[in-house]
Symmetry: none
Subunit: 193 residues, 4 copies
């Protein structure tokens, strides 16, 4: 039924497309979301504002796309033990939020998600939900190994872990490293009765 593209006229430039995303990402890392302007992005990308507005409705949408463009796919290691898997997950999360860009991305995600339900759902759908699903595999394996209680709600554990990670990253409540702190909190959650 639907054929989205009659495809007349000049097609949209792929170089422009990428230049825009790259400019957006570099500016995001350099000055942060609030301080970056569409005009600066256009200028850095060597592109007219029109070309950006033709693709994205605003800064939020553009930055969301830019972040999306560098998102790597969900990979969850299978180390053979629950805590091996968890340590890998924690370390991976630490890496993600370490770089300036990562830090800005997290801040921007949290900020926009807490401001707008729409963005929250978008991130939930694209980022958190897939990881939540993948995480359930880790828990199922642990159940099979009898490392955790058999009726453990893996979704709840994932949410709690994510919440703690978020909280620890924002407020840095402890003197120990982020990874160690998160690990300690996780132990509280998973302690086998």
């Amino acid at each position: 039924m639907s054929e989205g593209k009659p495809k007349r006229g000049r097609p949209r430039s792929i170089e422009s497309h990428q230049a825009i995303l790259e400019a957006a990402l570099s500016l995001l890392a350099e000055v942060g979301f609030d301080a970056m302007s569409i005009e600066a992005i256009a200028s850095r990308a060597g592109v007219g504002k029109t070309t950006i507005y033709r693709r994205y409705a605003g800064k939020e949408e553009l930055v969301a796309a830019a972040i999306e463009s560098i998102r790597d796919k969900v990979v969850i290691a299978d180390t053979g033990s629950l805590w091996g898997d968890l340590d890998a997950i924690i370390e991976n999360a630490a890496q993600t939020t370490l770089s300036p860009l990562g830090r800005q991305a997290v801040a921007m995600i949290i900020s926009s998600a807490s401001t707008s339900t729409q963005f929250a759902q978008l991130y939930w759908k694209n980022y958190l939900h897939p990881r939540r699903q993948a995480f359930s595999v880790v828990i199922e394996r642990a159940k099979a190994r009898n490392e955790v209680k058999g009726d453990l709600d893996s979704g709840l554990v994932f949410d709690a872990m994510s919440g703690i990670m978020l909280y620890a990253r924002i407020f840095q409540p402890a003197t120990e490293s982020w990874q160690v702190y998160v690990r300690r909190a996780l132990r509280l959650l998973l302690e086998k009765s």
Copy 2:
């Protein structure tokens, strides 16, 4: 010992001060942080922009002060049982973040805290740390009643609880009510081995 104010010139108007904070809060609740302008605040408060800028360096600072101004003092009920106390805390948190203003305030706090370490520390110091301290009393009472393990780290539990609350408020991961969901996560944390 001596204070640093010789108090020369006309003192700053207390009415203006309060009018500004009230205008800021009402606009925050109505249109949200991003959409509110200093000019609108000044106009609603019946005050010149100068009078605002004399007190605050920018919107963030002003809104932080406005939120600060309505922060109620830490009160943690003593119901006689751990879960009675926890339910009171959860309900209180739910109330706080239920109103439009509360929702905006939380969003704004998270947003600014995740953007700037300085703000994060400010909120930690003024808001979270006092509650964390008060919370430890609840846990100590529970320990005395043998409702939880004797070596439980109350700070860690508070952080985990806060993180989960935050996460649940932003991403609404479950269909059940926020309160029920948070309660379920807390049970996971506090299950006596």
Copy 3:
């Protein structure tokens, strides 16, 4: 010969251009130079402030351009006699400075010229010098008719006449009409020895 404009981007709007000049002139006539604000001009012209600042660096420059835009071309009548010509010139000058706009324009020209050498030179070049040249023709004709001395310096006469006109307009030293007063002074200058 060729102009230096590759003409990229959207060209500047001619309607805006004229609306700005008209708004500036009407406000100049209504409230005077000091009391008129760029914002009021922009608003009356139905134009953004930017559009004005893109064209002119400030109020002085804008008003100078506005006055320039209504400057009519130099016309000096040939009545057949020296005093016929002079009366025409005097009457013309009287008309020019009679209207509110004319009065404001003269005030503004004198004011800015006396404040800044740059403006003085601009008005000299665009307004006074051409008239000074045209005036020399009148004197030459009078010399041919033997109505004035043959070695009369027409430039000097023009300057003296202009100075007297200026002075008489500002300080209104006599009870008689401006025209009659100026005529009397001119007679002093041109009396044939």
Copy 4:
């Protein structure tokens, strides 16, 4: 101990009075009329704005008073010959308008006089009219010496001279010095038929 004065309360400070005038004059010379602010004058004079506003209704009035305060009294030399007297007058006028302060003062006088009839009358009454009267003495002496025509209107000559001086100062129409130029114009006026 003696209290001869019925005056109650603190008397107005004479030092403040003078400090204000001096500050006004120095700022007038430095930055010009438009760019000087009451606040800057108050600050430089070490005086509160109130103290200025108690004395003067606005900047114009203050500056008028400041200029007035340094106005020297009318002195017209008697050299024994018409052109000796005139040269003294011309030189004196040149000196007055030579200094930065003098230049600013002239500009400010012309500017305000051409903008407002009220100011024009004030300057006419305080400055020009006395000099016009004094000048008539010079002409009368010249008449007695038969250096000029007996029916010469000294007021008209003074006005013409003043107008030419003004015009020459503003527009600098000639390459020769101001003094020489003015002298040349005067000769035109006074040439004995």
